[in-house]
Symmetry: C2
Subunit: 282 residues, 2 copies
């Protein structure tokens, strides 16, 4: 038997992954959850049939969402992750000795359970003493949190359709902005730069509703739609996007060799090709 998993990117494109086995199939209160073992992309977590994590390339997504804001903030101590129940973002954040506490609010407890069982190399950090894990609605958590309580807020959500939709509105980003201490930063995943420009521009406009200074950045993720992904950094103050803290990066690399980011890549990360500047302009 040949087993293939297909993900459709709209009605006109798809990607196929030959699968060795289906390890888990379940339905939570929020979404369908599947875990498959593929030949070409490692083990995959699928939410509502969309690839969220592939063990072959998850390092890229998680390095980019965690270290970019951490190294653009002078001293991040208190971090909030909204979503991110697989644990990959927390695993990367824990590599920063400055970070004293990470609060993670994941809406779907079954995602955490499944990842602890099937993706221990991602989820193990969720039980670290520096991590405060909360199963609940990220929108409510953000709305009810005390103002000026976080240095970084990382929105590690699913796509803007489905349960993640509320994490892409202007009102949500305004509430996130309220949570930041002076000098604080927000980062969110912001879809494939090859996605429809209407979707991309709406995300960028909504981020801008909360953050007067915001800029997308991109990286290759072969198991994600169109092989390219974007994140957007938001701030309440002007930022020098070419000046990450490379001393702290060097110290980090000593203890935890990164597989994607290095000084040169980090300095040039916000230099986008013309087509993406246009597609992701506000």
């Amino acid at each position: 038997m040949q087993l293939w998993f297909y993900e459709a990117y709209g009605d006109e494109l798809l990607a196929g992954f030959k699968a060795r086995d289906v390890l888990f199939r379940g339905q939570s209160d929020f979404q369908r959850i599947d875990v498959i073992e593929t030949y070409g992309a490692g083990r995959m977590l699928l939410l509502d049939g969309l690839v969220m994590v592939s063990t072959s390339d998850e390092f890229i997504y998680h390095e980019l969402i965690a270290h970019v804001p951490s190294l653009h903030h002078p001293k991040p101590e208190n971090v909030l992750v909204v979503g991110g129940g697989d644990g990959g973002t927390v695993r990367e954040l824990l590599k920063h000795p400055d970070i004293k506490q990470i609060s993670l609010c994941e809406i779907d407890g079954l995602v955490v359970e499944v990842c602890e069982k099937y993706f221990p190399e991602l989820a193990s950090g969720l039980r670290d003493p520096r991590v405060r894990l909360e199963i609940g609605d990220g929108v409510a958590f953000v709305r009810e949190s005390v103002s000026a309580s976080f240095d970084l807020v990382i929105v590690d959500s699913t796509d803007p359709s489905g349960p993640g939709e509320a994490l892409f509105t202007g009102d949500f980003y305004k509430n996130v902005a309220r949570l930041l201490r002076p000098g604080g930063l927000m980062v969110c995943q912001s879809d494939s730069p090859w996605q429809d420009t209407a979707v991309l521009k709406r995300i960028q406009r909504n981020v801008r509703a909360g953050f007067p200074f915001s800029h997308p950045y991109i990286a290759s993720i072969p198991s994600y739609p169109h092989g390219l992904w974007s994140w957007t950094l938001g701030a309440l103050h002007p930022l020098d996007l070419c000046a990450p803290d490379v001393k702290r990066l060097a110290a980090l690399q000593q203890n935890y060799p990164l597989r994607y980011l290095n000084e040169d890549v980090l300095r040039g990360l916000f230099s986008l090709p013309n087509c993406f500047r246009q597609r992701m302009s506000v």
Copy 2:
């Protein structure tokens, strides 16, 4: 009827493109040639079932293979393109007023005919008075050409299996090096950076056999395998890879707005993420 074209990337991954129509199906002395009209990626040229050109993203491939060497050379006047019968590389080279003559040696005359009919926006430049079009074997052309006769040699080949194989050997690159005038540059397409590392390292080693100074660079091409492609620049002298001629780029942009490259992207193009440094090391 739903019509889909699938390209397999090895045995374990594939991409699917919903097709509106099949415009041409043919067999030359060298390869199978198909032209299809897709919904999501525009019109596609397929050689032996592999996507060579998609009108939705061909601008990226052709800007990267033509302008990077042109802007790293102080004054390219005489250029050789090996392969590239679709005409896209020539179209971009013709944007440089310094370039006085372009010789193009394409092995397959049917590729040129098909592209002139179905991809006029790529092929039109092939009839420009500055272009000398030769249908013949690129390996023989390079072997028999006069030493020190070109400022740039651009190897715009198919993949290293099939008719393009001979364009990836160390002997071929040594012969290419012989053709270069002092200060000359070579560039070749060098496969997806997510390709098997054995293939990638072999390409890099073979380039290095002809060129003591060589370095790959990468860009997103969603219709190509894994959504990411690489090219490799080769020189007989040390190069400052962060110092393209941005004045000539600015002049170019005035007349022909580029859709991918800009000054910042060009300066950072050779800064590769750690995983690709490793995968494409010699």
